[in-house]
C-alpha cells in the first residue's frame, strides 16, 4: 500500500521540487546577491535590493499596482454580485448561464486582451464609429492609460469573482429570505441584512482571487497600458530582460509573492472550506 503510493507521488514530487521549490530558492538567493557586471549575480550578499523596493520610483509603482488592483477588484465585485445572484436564481438553466460566463474565460487570455486593443485604439472600432456618427471629431485617447488597464483586468478576471459568489449564493437557505419578507423587510433590507452578510465568504474568496491575480498582472498593463501604466509585474520582467538587474527583479518577485501569500492566509484562516 505505502510503496505504490510513494511511487505514484514521486513524479509530481520531483516536478514540484525541481521546477517550483528549487527555482523559488534560487530566486531567494539571487535577491540577496549583488548585480553582476554583465547581468546575472555576484557576491557579496546584501539586502540592498530590498531597500531599493521602497525608493520613491519603485514604491510609486507598487502603490499604483495596489490601487489599480483594488479598483479592478471593486468593479468586479459590483458587476459580479448581481450576476452571481441572477445565475443562482435561474433554476434549471443555472449551468448554462454559468458556462456562458466561464467560456470566454477559458479561451485565450491574450486574444481577449487584444480584442480590447482592437476596440479602444485611436483607429479602433469605438473611435471609428463615434467619428463617423459625428459625435467626436478627434479620436478619444481610450487606450494606453490606467482606465484601459482596469477595464482589461475586469474583463479578464470577472469570472474569478462570479464563481465563488455563485457558490455561496447558491447554497443560501431560501427560507431565510422568505422569513425576512414575512417579517416585513423590503427587498433592499433583505439584500443588505441577509443576503450580503451570508455571502461574505464568497465575497472574500472572490475579492482575494481577483486582487492577487491583478496584482501580478503583466500582459494587461503591457498591452493596454503601454509605457504609461507600469505595474509591478512589468518591473519584474524588465529587470530580467533589458535592465539586467536580477537581484532587484528577484527581490520584487519575492515581495509580490509575500503579499499574495499573506492575503491568501488571511482568507484561508477564516473560511477553510471555501478555497478549492
Amino acid at each position: 500500500m505505502k510503496r505504490l503510493r510513494a511511487i505514484f507521488l514521486a513524479p509530481a514530487r520531483t516536478i514540484n521540487f525541481v521546477l517550483f521549490l528549487a527555482p523559488m530558492a534560487i530566486v531567494l538567493a539571487y535577491s540577496l546577491l549583488s548585480r553582476g557586471v554583465y547581468g546575472g549575480v555576484e557576491r557579496p550578499w546584501t539586502f540592498e535590493s530590498y531597500t531599493r523596493l521602497i525608493d520613491p520610483l519603485y514604491g510609486g509603482i507598487l502603490l499604483r499596482s495596489f490601487w489599480i488592483s483594488v479598483l479592478s477588484t471593486g468593479v468586479c465585485l459590483v458587476l459580479g454580485f448581481p450576476m452571481a445572484l441572477f445565475i443562482a436564481r435561474s433554476g434549471a438553466r443555472r449551468n448554462l448561464y454559468l458556462n456562458l460566463v466561464m467560456l470566454p474565460f477559458w479561451t485565450s487570455f491574450l486574444v481577449r486582451t487584444y480584442a480590447w486593443m482592437f476596440l479602444l485604439r485611436d483607429t479602433g472600432l469605438i473611435n471609428t464609429v463615434l467619428q463617423s456618427l459625428g459625435i467626436i471629431h478627434e479620436p478619444l485617447p481610450l487606450l494606453y492609460n490606467d482606465g484601459a488597464v482596469i477595464l482589461g483586468l475586469v474583463y479578464g478576471y470577472l469570472p474569478f469573482m462570479i464563481l465563488p459568489l455563485y457558490t455561496t449564493l447558491e447554497r443560501l437557505d431560501k427560507s431565510l429570505l422568505e422569513a425576512s419578507a414575512d417579517l416585513g423587510a423590503t427587498p433592499f433590507v433583505t439584500l443588505t441584512r441577509i443576503i450580503i452578510p451570508l455571502s461574505a465568504p464568497g465575497i472574500r474568496a472572490g475579492s482575494i482571487l481577483v486582487f492577487i491575480t491583478c496584482l501580478g498582472a503583466y500582459l494587461t498593463p503591457d498591452l493596454l497600458g503601454g509605457s504609461k501604466t507600469v505595474m509591478i509585474g512589468n518591473v519584474i520582467q524588465n529587470q530580467f530582460t533589458s535592465a539586467r538587474d536580477w537581484p532587484f527583479g528577484a527581490a520584487a518577485s519575492l515581495a509580490l509573492m509575500a503579499l499574495v501569500m499573506v492575503m491568501l492566509l488571511v482568507v484561508l484562516r477564516r473560511d477553510k472550506e471555501q478555497m478549492l
Binding site: F20, T107, A115, L158, F240
Partner: protein, 252 residues
C-alpha cells in the same frame, strides 16, 4: 419582477463578456484592413496560413502543449490518486502555492533555474525548457480536476476488487482508473488549453527556435492591430472554446 431586472442586467454583462470577441471575429472577415466594413473576404485567413513564421509558431505550440499536457496528466493523475489514498499536506500545499504564484514570478524563477543549470550543462533555452516549464505550471490544474473526480468515486469498489484477489496496481488499473477516466481526460484538455495559451512564462524560457503562437501574436499586437491577428485570434477562440466544451461534456 426582481429576477427580470436581474435578467436584464445579466444580458448587459453577457454582452460585455462576449461582444468584444464577436466583433473581433466579424472584422477578421472584413476585406478592408481598416475598421470600416468593406465586404466579406477570407484574405486575412489566407495571409495567416501563408505566413511561415506563424505556421511554425503554431506547430511549436501544438508540440509543446501536447507533450507537456500529456506528461502533466500522467504525473498529475498518479499524484491525485496518491493524495486521495492519504493526504500529503506539504505536497498539496506546495501545488496550491504554485497555482496562485503570479505567472511572471513562475516565469523568472524558471528562467533563473535554467540559467543556473546551464553553467553546468551545455544546453540552451529551447523547446525542452518550454516543455518543462509548461509541465510545472499545468500539474496543479490536473491534480485538482482529477481529485474532484476521485471524491465522487467509492473506495469500497477498490476494496472489493482487492478482496477478490486483485493487487493494488490491478485495482487501480482496472477499477479506479476506468471510472475516473472522464476526469483524467478533462484534466488533460484543461492542461492543454492552459499550456497552448500561455504567453508570460513561455516568453521568458523560450529560445530562438521555440517561438510559440502566443509569442508571435503578442509581438504583432504590440506593433499594432492587424487583421491577420484578428483572423488567428478567431481561430484560437473557436478551437479553445471547442476543447473546453468537449471537456465539459466528458466530465458530465
Amino acid at each position: 419582477m426582481k429576477q427580470r431586472a436581474l435578467g436584464f442586467y445579466a444580458v448587459l454583462v453577457y454582452a460585455f463578456l462576449h461582444v468584444p470577441l464577436l466583433v473581433l471575429a466579424v472584422f477578421s472577415f472584413n476585406s478592408s484592413k481598416f475598421t470600416v466594413w468593406k465586404g466579406f473576404s477570407l484574405d486575412w485567413y489566407k495571409a495567416a496560413f501563408h505566413d511561415a513564421g506563424l505556421v511554425e509558431a503554431a506547430v511549436n505550440s501544438l508540440i509543446i502543449a501536447t507533450v507537456a499536457s500529456l506528461l502533466a496528466t500522467i504525473a498529475g493523475t498518479l499524484c491525485a490518486y496518491g493524495l486521495w489514498k492519504r493526504s500529503a499536506p506539504i505536497l498539496s500545499n506546495s501545488l496550491y502555492l504554485s497555482l496562485v504564484t503570479p505567472e511572471i514570478v513562475t516565469g523568472i524563477s524558471l528562467l533563473a533555474l535554467f540559467q543556473w543549470m546551464f553553467r553546468f550543462l551545455k544546453i540552451q533555452l529551447g523547446m525542452h525548457t518550454v516543455i518543462l516549464a509548461h509541465i510545472a505550471f499545468t500539474l496543479a490544474y490536473v491534480v485538482i480536476v482529477v481529485m474532484a473526480r476521485l471524491r465522487t468515486f467509492d473506495p469500497a469498489l477498490e476494496e472489493a476488487a482487492m478482496d477478490l484477489g486483485a493487487t493494488e496496481w490491478q485495482a487501480f488499473r482496472q477499477v479506479t482508473l476506468p471510472s475516473i477516466l472522464p476526469g483524467v481526460l478533462a484534466a488533460g484538455l484543461l492542461a492543454f488549453t492552459v499550456s497552448i495559451d500561455d504567453y508570460v512564462i513561455t516568453s521568458l524560457v523560450a529560445g530562438v527556435d521555440s517561438e510559440t503562437l502566443p509569442m508571435v501574436i503578442f509581438q504583432m499586437a504590440r506593433r499594432g492591430v492587424s487583421p491577420v491577428v484578428n483572423a488567428i485570434s478567431t481561430l484560437i477562440v473557436i478551437a479553445l472554446g471547442g476543447l473546453i466544451l468537449l471537456s465539459e461534456r466528458i466530465q458530465r
